[in-house]
């Protein structure tokens, strides 16, 4: 029985699997970022992390003054069949990951591929793919908010909006151009804000607002 045996077989024999993981790892170290199936990415991650750790430890020892660790290079060279990549791994890459206690790689899922429906992912070296846009992330405060809190917040925002809107609609006949310009500016900013942040809850109140506006006119 194969209970609790770790790792995926990837429908390959042991030697075929080893060759695949080596090839994926060399590609990862060469390009810093590769696209493959989710299963292969996760297996290659296990395989590559161990190799990078060995290179990192050798690098750190050498920086601390010990002799060049030829043994570590030979062990790693069994899997990394490329002299240039091997050299880079024990110098630049090792230096970049030196401060990291493992976790040198990142897998990001991309969804299913058209042709065979396989789940695809990106496997990348964390220290070579660092740019990040904080504006494109949901803030921690918001993530921690419960659904009830989010709904309450969005309702409050909506009520505030309506309060601003109703007098403007009533005075529609008045010739005050400035007032109209002001309200449109005030409207657009919070609406855009709400639309990007609270999609599910804004729809219903927005419809209500439209209905209210009609009533006020008629």
């Amino acid at each position: 029985m194969r209970h609790n045996v770790e790792g995926r077989k990837l429908k390959r024999t042991a030697s075929h699997r080893r060759a695949l993981l080596r090839a994926l790892t060399v590609s990862l170290l060469r390009h810093k970022r590769i696209r493959t199936t989710e299963a292969k990415a996760k297996e290659a991650r296990r395989f590559a992390e161990a190799i990078i750790t060995r290179a990192k430890n050798a690098y750190l020892a050498e920086q601390a003054g010990s002799a060049t660790n030829i043994h570590a290079r030979r062990v790693v060279a069994r899997d990394i069949n490329d002299a240039a990549i091997l050299k880079e791994l024990f110098s630049e890459i090792a230096q970049k990951v030196a401060g990291r206690p493992g976790g040198y790689t990142r897998v990001v899922k991309l969804g299913q591929r058209i042709g065979d429906g396989a789940r695809v992912a990106i496997l990348e070296l964390v220290d070579y793919n660092t740019e990040r846009d904080e504006n494109a992330v949901r803030s921690r405060a918001k993530r921690m908010m419960s659904r009830a809190e989010r709904v309450a917040r969005s309702r409050a925002k909506q009520a505030e909006l309506e309060a601003k809107q109703t007098p403007a609609v009533a005075q529609e006949e008045a010739p005050a151009e400035e007032a109209v310009i002001e309200t449109t500016a005030a409207e657009t900013a919070p609406v855009a804000d709400a639309a990007t942040e609270e999609q599910p809850t804004t729809e219903a109140p927005a419809a209500e607002t439209a209905a209210d506006g009609d009533q006020a006119k008629g």
Binding site: K109, G111, N129, E134
Partner: protein
């Protein structure tokens, strides 16, 4: 070895299968562009995941 005495009718077979149901995947909204997307997956519309551009022309 004991064996089934009778073949199951189409009706019995089909009644058994009434409980086989497909479930729709759970979708979420992309925090960057607001598109509907799968959870824990990069956005197909803008290519972002967790603040990073994941999909670009090279990959």
């Amino acid at each position: 070895m004991p064996n089934p005495k009778r073949k199951h009718s189409k009706s019995r077979r089909d009644k058994r299968r009434t409980h086989y149901k497909a479930t729709a995947p759970a979708f979420g909204k992309c925090p960057n562009c607001g598109e509907t997307k799968l959870h824990h997956t990069a956005c197909n519309a803008c290519g972002y995941y967790n603040g990073r551009v994941i999909l670009n022309s090279t990959l």
